[in-house]
């Protein structure tokens, strides 16, 4: 039943977008950009002073699909905007206190022709940006609206340009304060890999199942993932600062120049490579391989732990 509900949500949500491709620019050249979102982002670093957001998806229409997966009554459902009709897709069964509820809402678009929705938040919606943007204490925060309910954003994709002078902290689980948050066991992810490229600042990425593609990041970089795969490529750059990657069962795939100055501590189910490493130590057990590998003087540390996943180290 849950699967059917989820499929309906995804199908409806994907039908409800219209074309849009405008930009939002935010002056921000120092501090931390905190992305607390499970949406698909293509982020690029550049030598500038603004964070530039561009939506690559189609703009939503007036339908809204709201799902509440929390336990209890429907009091915690908050419906915003002009709601003409609201239907509960699956009526509550007697005695059932734990089930997903879906509400499909529809706004009358004809009535508002010629008018503009007021409010600061609407500026972003008009640009096709469906996450909140907040700036405080030296941080610029992008956050999904998922308080007690969540709206399926499948198909949303954003291109973001960020200045090389800032720090990026990206959490696809929504930067949840786990201790105070219910449903911490539920993670939402986009099937398409998000990407980050050409960035010179410090990077922290935390994800559950999202796949990540990184290209030409000099570091320091720290990534942790439960089941997401991490693909890293060094094309025009070499690793210059610490790389730390932990995964429980996703793979780690790195393509790097063979003249990199690296000390790699790799641990995973199996380690594969076509690079002529100097093997400093190795230890192999059933489904577990651990190696210390060196290239040149071993100046930059790379700590890789793929858990039950494999590690692939490829020559560029």
């Amino acid at each position: 039943m849950k699967k059917i509900q989820l499929i309906i949500v995804i199908v409806l949500a994907s039908l409800q977008f219209g074309a849009n491709a405008q930009e939002k620019k935010i002056k921000f050249s120092s501090g931390t950009l905190k992305i607390c979102s499970s949406k698909n982002f293509k982020i690029k670093g550049y030598d500038g002073t603004e964070v530039i957001i561009k939506s690559l998806h189609e703009k939503r229409n007036s339908y809204r699909v709201i799902s509440n997966f929390t336990q209890g009554t429907s009091n915690n459902l908050r419906l915003k905007g002009t709601v003409r009709s609201t239907k509960r897709a699956f009526p509550k069964r007697k005695g059932d206190t734990s089930y997903p509820r879906l509400l499909f809402t529809y706004s009358d678009t004809k009535r508002r022709v010629g008018l503009k929705r007021l409010g600061k938040k609407q500026e972003n919606v008009d640009l096709g940006i469906y996450f909140t943007i907040e700036q405080k204490n030296g941080e610029l925060i992008f956050k999904d609206e998922t308080t007690g309910q969540f709206v399926m954003y499948n198909g949303e994709s954003y291109e973001i340009m960020i200045p090389n002078t800032i720090k990026l902290n990206w959490d696809t689980n929504g930067c949840r304060e786990s201790s105070s948050q219910k449903n911490s066991s539920r993670f939402f992810y986009s099937s398409n890999a998000s990407s980050l490229s050409d960035f010179k600042g410090e990077v922290e990425i935390s994800t559950s199942l999202n796949n990540m593609k990184l290209k030409d990041l000099t570091g320091p970089v720290s990534i942790n993932s439960i089941g997401g795969n991490v693909t890293i490529e060094f094309d025009k750059k070499k690793p210059m600062k610490l790389y730390s990657i932990y995964s429980n069962n996703g793979f780690i795939d790195i393509t790097l120049p063979s003249d990199s100055d690296l000390l790699v501590d790799a641990q995973g189910a199996a380690i594969y490579s076509d690079i002529n490493f100097n093997v400093l130590s190795e230890n192999q057990e059933v489904n577990k391989q651990k190696m210390r590998l060196k290239l040149k003087n071993g100046r930059t540390k790379m700590k890789l732990d793929a858990g039950l996943g494999n590690i692939y180290l490829r020559k560029k």
Binding site: S179, S185, I223
Partner: protein
């Protein structure tokens, strides 16, 4: 005529013989030589003493330099463990893991603080690996049990559960039970906790 008879026969001639001036000079030089002998040994003794003192000084300087270097390294490490940048903290933890082999209370305390308070999962996981270098340290063992009780980041929870299983820490059974019974626990964490429980009960 033997030698004795010869001396007796010429005794007077021998008694009249005066000592030559050359003999005096020779005697004086021999006397000087004899008198200076103790002075020379004193000089040699002092030389040995100064050489020994220099060696001792060099050794002390070596130890002092080593101590100073270690203290500087330690302070540098402690500073990096408290840095605002997660990358710097990670550098510090990995450095401790790779280069420090002795237990140091200050560093251990800093690592335990990270274990409980840090917001970055990578820093916490690296810290757990560093603390596992001292499996018999009771403070570390207790801290790991406290950490597994309150940790909410799934990947860190898994690392803690595996570490406590590796340490065969039976006191972790209660917190593991809580993790298993907690509805909010991520499924993969639950399965790791269940496996750990089974291992610890063996």
């Amino acid at each position: 005529m033997n030698l004795k008879e010869y001396f007796q026969h010429h005794k007077e001639a021998f008694d009249d013989e005066k000592m030559s001036a050359k003999a005096d000079v020779l005697f004086e030089s021999k006397l000087k030589e004899a008198l200076h002998q103790p002075k020379k040994s004193k000089v040699i003794y002092l030389r040995y003493l100064s050489v020994a003192a220099s060696i001792a000084l060099l050794i002390s300087l070596g130890f002092w330099w080593q101590y100073e270097t270690h203290e500087n390294d330690k302070n540098e490490l402690l500073a990096s463990l408290e840095n605002n940048s997660a990358g710097e903290r990670l550098e510090g933890v990995y450095r401790f893991n790779d280069e420090f082999s002795k237990e140091d209370d200050k560093i251990i305390n800093a690592l335990i603080k990270i274990l409980h308070d840090d917001t970055n999962a990578n820093v916490k996981i690296a810290t757990i690996e560093a603390l596992l270098k001292f499996p018999s340290n009771e403070k570390i063992r207790k801290s790991l049990i406290v950490a597994v009780e309150k940790e909410k980041i799934p990947l860190v929870q898994i690392k803690l559960i595996k570490s406590l299983t590796y340490l065969r820490e039976h006191r972790a059974q209660k917190p593991l039970e809580n993790i298993i019974n907690d509805e909010e626990t991520f499924p993969i964490v639950k399965s790791n906790a269940a496996l750990a429980m089974a291992t610890l009960k063996q």
